[in-house]
């Protein structure tokens, strides 16, 4: 039913992220069915859908945490070639550490809760081979500052911090190596509304300052509306609709998207 759009003609840059025909089953459960997506440099792609729609699975694949049954994934970067799903564990780890940053909904997934906040950020730099204590500290400070973390709590362990602060530490860790791609998995879900607004505010600010390419997954349309340039709506492992953010929200085509948009308070 959706109008088939033309291929890009004016914009000559290639997408930074290209995911093609990805399918994944867990037993009989279809998590992803022939999903394709592309994200252009500097663009923010929002993925919406209810739980179980496959949006988080797709994001985890972009972070090379999971491998699909079929499909390919490429990043258009100078020293990155081929289908990234074919990389071995070592190459994946190095690629994820240096080119991709991720913020999880659950900070326990992304942080060592009992280490210092600066140490959590420094770990990324250590993986990349930084071996000067002073430089580690300085760079961790810069990253934490960019994610608007209060520097007087620099060395507090995340377990002592509020949810919003934990997300800022995750964000600082994710951007410490200035990745080409930033993945956000429900980054503000579970936070108080006012804290959520502040974290989104930081993300938005960061996006404008650094023009980081982002993929943000959320079931919250408000979050996607605030952040995304383009939206992909997923349901039961399939993409039901994608388009410009304003178009998707103002003129949803698919019955499911209309239902989602109308259900929003």
């Amino acid at each position: 039913m959706t109008l088939q759009l033309d291929a890009p003609r004016l914009v000559k840059t290639r997408p930074l992220v290209t995911v093609r025909n990805v399918s994944k089953c867990y037993g009989d459960v279809v998590a992803l069915n022939d999903v394709s997506a592309s994200v252009y440099p500097g663009e923010v792609l929002g993925i919406v859908g209810e739980s179980g729609s496959g949006k988080s699975t797709l994001l985890r694949m972009m972070n090379l945490e999971e491998t699909p049954d079929r499909g390919s994934y490429t990043l258009d970067l100078p020293d990155v070639q081929g289908n990234l799903f074919d990389l071995d564990r070592f190459a994946r780890r190095m690629l994820c550490a240096t080119k991709i940053g991720i913020v999880y909904q659950n900070p326990h997934l992304g942080l060592l809760m009992k280490h210092s906040s600066s140490g959590n950020v420094a770990e990324r730099l250590l993986v990349a081979g930084e071996r000067s204590f002073a430089t580690l500290r300085q760079k961790a400070k810069v990253a934490l500052e960019a994610s608007e973390f209060p520097l007087e709590r620099l060395d507090a362990p995340p377990i002592e911090l509020s949810g919003g602060m934990q997300q800022r530490v995750q964000l600082a860790k994710a951007i410490a190596l200035e990745p080409a791609l930033l993945l956000l998995d429900e980054p503000t879900t579970g936070l108080d509304v006012s804290v959520q607004a502040m974290v989104l505010d930081t993300l938005k600010h960061l996006q404008q300052e650094r023009a980081i390419t982002m993929v943000i997954v959320s079931h919250d349309l408000g979050v996607i509306r605030t952040m995304a340039d383009r939206v992909m709506v997923m349901r039961r492992g399939e993409v039901v609709e994608q388009g410009l953010a304003d178009q998707t929200f103002q003129d949803p085509q698919h019955a499911y998207t209309q239902q989602l948009v109308h259900a929003k308070l």
């Binding site: 564990r89 210092s116 600066s118 250590l126 993986v127 071996r131 000067s132 204590f133």
Partner: protein, 304 residues
């Protein structure tokens, strides 16, 4: 020809206590460990007449390497005369007929618990270290399967992070013994709980070091002339224990690793940890003609 001519006469036990297949396995694993410096090799640690955790790993290596000409020295925290060291030394001699010694210079094989002798070891000597916990990643990764993957990937970020945290919390690296060290630029190993003082002795050493953990069933090795670099930040230098200026109250030796002996008035006295070196110092002072080997530390400092 009869069966008795083809077989050896019955003996109460095998030469060197371990059976031939156990020794063969150990030899193979030691070769592997030498081939990949610092990489832990699993082996089927056998029962020996000693409880696990008392040096069974080191003992099995010694039993495999020993022959009637091997002169054996056994030390426990530097001392030749502790009960444990004496028992192991006597056991080794009894099952192999090997001669024993306390002098580092005379020994062919030195089995040690947590010390490296102060006198420089030679190419023809082997140091066997007893290891309680061979996995340097255990504090940061309790899952050993994942830890093995991390070794395979040289994924030591967490290891470094631990040092970062220590400096942050205490202003310096708190790791006293078992200081994680990078062997041959590839594998991080725990050098067994030798003090920081001893770790630099392993770097580009002339002798072969074999580290064996009997309870954990792992062997790793530092072959001769192999780099052993303690993990340190570029701007936070590696520091050994501050023992350079201390003098042994019994022998008067100065500039070596000391044992601290708390005194009743609250102060501390110090006694040289390498007991035989202390003994040699005393005997030399008494006028005996004692041959000292070159030492790694000179006036409390390690050259270069």
């Amino acid at each position: 020809m009869s069966l008795s001519t083809l077989t050896k006469p019955w003996e109460a036990m095998n030469y060197g206590f371990l059976d031939a297949s156990a020794k063969r396995e150990l030899r193979r694993k030691m070769l592997k460990a030498v081939a990949v410096p610092g990489c832990q090799m699993p082996y089927a640690s056998r029962e020996v007449p000693m409880a696990r955790g008392w040096g069974t790993g080191g003992l099995q290596v010694s039993l495999t390497l020993i022959n009637p000409q091997t002169r054996v020295k056994v030390i426990d925290q530097g001392a030749d005369d502790s009960v444990n060291a004496a028992s192991i030394r006597r056991f080794l001699a009894r099952v192999s007929g090997a001669p024993t010694t306390m002098d580092t210079l005379e020994a062919d094989l030195i089995q040690s618990r947590h010390r490296v002798p102060e006198e420089i070891m030679r190419e023809d000597q082997v140091l066997v270290l007893q290891v309680p916990n061979p996995e340097p990643l255990r504090p940061v990764q309790p899952n050993m399967s994942i830890a093995r993957q991390m070794h395979a990937d040289a994924d030591y970020g967490r290891m470094w992070l631990q040092l970062y945290e220590q400096i942050l919390r205490s202003g310096r690296v708190m790791q006293g013994a078992s200081y994680p060290s990078l062997v041959n630029g590839r594998h991080v190993m725990t050098p067994s709980p030798i003090p920081r003082w001893d770790v630099p002795k392993l770097n580009m050493a002339k002798h072969l070091t074999i580290l064996s953990a009997g309870r954990e069933k792992r062997i790793h090795a530092v072959p001769p002339f192999t780099r052993v670099e303690p993990l340190v930040f570029d701007d936070v230098p590696y520091r050994v224990e501050d023992h350079g200026g201390l003098t042994c109250i019994r022998s008067g030796a100065t500039g070596f690793f000391m044992n601290e002996i708390p005194q009743e008035d609250g102060t501390s006295a110090y006694e040289i940890s390498d007991s035989e070196f202390g003994v040699k110092t005393i005997r030399a002072a008494e006028g005996e003609d004692i041959r000292f080997g070159d030492t790694w530390y000179k006036d409390g400092e390690m050259p270069q």
